[in-house]
C-alpha cells in the first residue's frame, strides 16, 4: 500500500480540465474577486505609504510608498495563493467533495493537486497584476523592468500554494488554518521586509528571515522598481522554486495518505 505513497508526481496536461472548472466558478464571482485583489493591498499601500511615508526619509534611494509597493506585490500574491490553497482547496477536497467526483474519472490525485497549485498561482498572478496596475497608475515606478513582477507573482504563487497545501492536507477543519495564518503568514509579513528593511531587525531575526520564502520574493521585487537587476537573482529564484517543489511533493504525499483511508 505504501509503495506508491512516496512515488514522484506523474503530471499530464489533464490538470487543465480542473483548472477550467475553477475558472468557470471564478468567472461567476469575478467582480468581487478582482475588487478584493485591488482593495486590500491598495488601502494598505496608500494608507501606510502616504501616511507613514510622509514622516519617513527615502529608503535605499526610493520614497517609502515605492518601497512599500514592492513589498505589497509579494505580500498580496502570497495571500492570494494561501487563501486559495487553504480555504478554497479545503472546500473542494472536503466540504464539496469535488475531488472525490474528479477521482472517479480518468484523472488522478496527482492531477488534482497540481491543478490546485496551478489555480492558486493563477489567482496570485491576477493579484500581482492588480497591484502592478496600481503602481503604474500612481506613477510609483515607470520602469519597464516592473513587468518582471508578473512572472515573479506567478512564482510566488506557486511557492505559497504548494506550501499552503501541506496545511490543507493536514487540516481536520477550517479552524486549523488559523494556526498557519497566525504562526506563519503574519510573522512572515513582519519579518520579511514588506514594511521595513530586514536589516532593521536583530541578527537572530535576520537569520530567520533569510530562510523564509517571502524575503526572497521581496529581494527580487524591490530592485525592479528602480530598474535594477536584483542581486543574487539565481539564488532567490532557486529558493522560491525549491519551496514550490518541496511543498508540492510533501503535500502530494500527505494527500495520498489522507485519501487512501
Amino acid at each position: 500500500m505504501n509503495k506508491h505513497l512516496f512515488s514522484l508526481p506523474r503530471l499530464s496536461l489533464r490538470f487543465t480540465t480542473i483548472w477550467r472548472r475553477n475558472f468557470l466558478v471564478w468567472k461567476k464571482m469575478a467582480g468581487p474577486s478582482i475588487l478584493g485583489h485591488l482593495a486590500d493591498p491598495v488601502i494598505y499601500m496608500l494608507g501606510l505609504g502616504y501616511g507613514l511615508g510622509g514622516m519617513l526619509p527615502e529608503i535605499n534611494g526610493m520614497p517609502y510608498i515605492t518601497f512599500l509597493a514592492a513589498g505589497t506585490v509579494c505580500y498580496s500574491t502570497m495571500n492570494s495563493a494561501s487563501f486559495e490553497a487553504l480555504y478554497s482547496g479545503f472546500t473542494r477536497m472536503h466540504e464539496q467533495r469535488t475531488w472525490e467526483a474528479i477521482l472517479n474519472t480518468p484523472l488522478s490525485l496527482d492531477d488534482i493537486v497540481f491543478s490546485e497549485i496551478a489555480w492558486a498561482a493563477s489567482k496570485s498572478l491576477l493579484a500581482g497584476i492588480a497591484v502592478l496596475a496600481v503602481i503604474w497608475l500612481l506613477g510609483l515606478s515607470h520602469s519597464p523592468m516592473t513587468l518582471w513582477l508578473i512572472p515573479l507573482a506567478l512564482l510566488v504563487g506557486l511557492c505559497f500554494a504548494s506550501v499552503g497545501l501541506i496545511i490543507t492536507a493536514l487540516a481536520p477543519s477550517y479552524d486549523f488554518f488559523m494556526y498557519y495564518f497566525t504562526l506563519v503568514i503574519t510573522p512572515m509579513v513582519l519579518l520579511c521586509g514588506v514594511f521595513f528593511p530586514v536589516d532593521q531587525l536583530p541578527v537572530l531575526l535576520q537569520n530567520i528571515s533569510a530562510a523564509l520564502p517571502l524575503t526572497h520574493a521581496i529581494e527580487l521585487a524591490r530592485p525592479l522598481m528602480s530598474s535594477a537587476v536584483p542581486a543574487q537573482l539565481a539564488w532567490h529564484v532557486t529558493v522560491l522554486l525549491g519551496y514550490a517543489l518541496l511543498g508540492f511533493y510533501v503535500s502530494l504525499v500527505l494527500f495520498r495518505r489522507r485519501l487512501s483511508q
Binding site: M1, T17, L24, A101, N104, P106, S108
Partner: protein, 304 residues
C-alpha cells in the same frame, strides 16, 4: 459471456483491521449485480478497490479487460460512478455540471453539448437545464448525478447506495431508469441495504459481511438456498411466551425480536391452525423474502 469485471481473492486492511477479506466476484456484460451488506461490511471499500482508487493488499482485479490498479485510469474512461454522497458542483447549473464532468473524460465541449439533450431527458431535467444545483430537490440531484455518470457513455456503472435518502416516488423513478440502462446493455454494479431494491433490480447478488461474501446467487436462489419458504410473523405481548411453548412444535426455526416472533416453516398450516386458538396474538403469513435471508446471514444485532 465475457466478464466485464472480475475480482479474485481481493484483500484490504487498514491499521491491522481487515475490511475486505478474500472477495471474488465475476460480473458479465449486461448483468445487474448487487452487493448487499450491513453498514461497515466492506461494500464501499470493495467498490473503491475495483475503481483503482485505493491499492489492494492482495488479489487480482480486472475491469473491462484492464488490470487494476495499474491501468485503472484507462479503465475509468469507460466507467460511470454514482457515489453514495452527492458531490455535484453547487456553483454550477445542471448543464454546467455535465459539461465540466465530460471534460474530465477528455471529451470536447461540442461532443458534450451534443449529448446534453439526451442526458437531460433521461434524468427528467430538461426544464432544469439552467437551474443551479442548490435549487434542486434530493431526487433531482440524484438523477443529475446519474446523468453525470453517463456523460462518457460508460460500459459499466458503479452505484453506491443509489437511492439512500430518497422518497418512494424518487426511488421508483431511479429504479425505472436503472432498468432502462440495463435493458440497453449497460452493466450495473450497485451496493444497497434496501432488500426490495436488490430484489427488483439485480440478476445476481452477493451478501457481504465482515469483508467476506457469505452467499451469492439470484434473489430466488438466495432465498431457496438459505431459508424456509414460508414466514409467519406473530405479534403481541405474549408472543414470546407462546413461541417457547408452541412455536417449537410447528416451526423449523423461529426468532424472537422484541414483541415479534418470526417463524420460518416449510408448511405453515399446522402453525396457522394453532394461531387461530390464540385470539390475543396477531399474525402475518407471507412468503420468505430477501430481508429474511439477509437477517439470517448477517444477524439481527445493530451495526453502527
Amino acid at each position: 459471456m465475457s466478464a466485464v469485471l472480475s475480482v479474485q481473492n481481493l484483500r484490504k486492511s487498514y491499521a491491522g483491521q481487515t475490511v475486505v477479506d478474500g472477495v471474488s466476484i465475476r460480473i458479465d456484460k449486461g448483468e445487474c449485480y448487487g452487493l448487499l451488506g450491513p453498514n461497515g461490511a466492506g461494500k464501499t471499500t470493495t467498490l473503491r478497490l475495483m475503481l483503482g482508487l485505493i491499492d489492494p493488499d492482495g488479489g487480482d482485479l480486472n475491469l473491462l479487460g484492464l488490470t487494476v490498479p495499474r491501468h485503472a485510469r484507462e479503465a475509468r474512461l469507460r466507467v460511470g460512478v454514482v457515489p453514495q454522497m452527492d458531490n455535484l458542483d453547487p456553483d454550477f447549473t445542471v448543464a454546467e455540471n455535465l459539461l465540466v464532468y465530460g471534460r474530465y473524460f477528455g471529451m470536447s465541449d461540442a461532443t458534450i453539448e451534443s449529448r446534453l439533450p439526451e442526458l437531460l431527458e433521461f434524468a427528467n431535467l430538461t426544464g432544469k437545464r439552467d437551474a443551479k444545483v442548490p435549487t434542486l430537490s434530493g431526487g433531482m440531484k440524484r438523477r443529475l448525478t446519474l446523468a453525470r455518470a453517463l456523460v462518457n457513455d460508460p460500459d459499466i456503472l458503479f452505484l453506491d447506495e443509489p437511492t439512500t435518502g430518497l422518497d418512494p416516488q424518487a426511488r421508483h423513478l431511479i429504479w425505472q431508469r436503472l432498468r432502462e440502462l440495463n435493458a440497453r446493455g449497460k452493466t450495473l454494479l450497485l451496493t444497497t441495504h434496501f432488500m426490495d431494491e436488490a430484489e427488483r433490480l439485480c440478476h445476481r447478488l452477493a451478501v457481504m459481511d465482515n469483508g467476506r461474501i457469505i452467499s451469492e446467487g439470484s434473489p430466488r436462489e438466495l432465498i431457496e438456498r438459505n431459508i424456509e419458504p414460508q414466514v409467519v410473523e406473530v405479534f403481541g405481548e405474549h408472543a414470546a411466551a407462546w413461541a417457547n411453548n408452541h412455536a417449537v412444535r410447528y416451526t423449523q426455526r423461529f426468532e424472537i425480536s422484541g414483541e415479534t416472533v418470526f417463524c420460518y416453516v416449510q408448511d405453515a398450516q399446522p402453525l396457522l391452525q394453532n394461531l387461530l386458538q390464540q385470539p390475543e396474538l396477531r399474525y402475518l403469513h407471507r412468503p420468505a423474502n430477501l430481508e429474511d435471508v439477509f437477517l439470517k446471514l448477517t444477524g439481527r444485532e445493530m451495526r453502527e
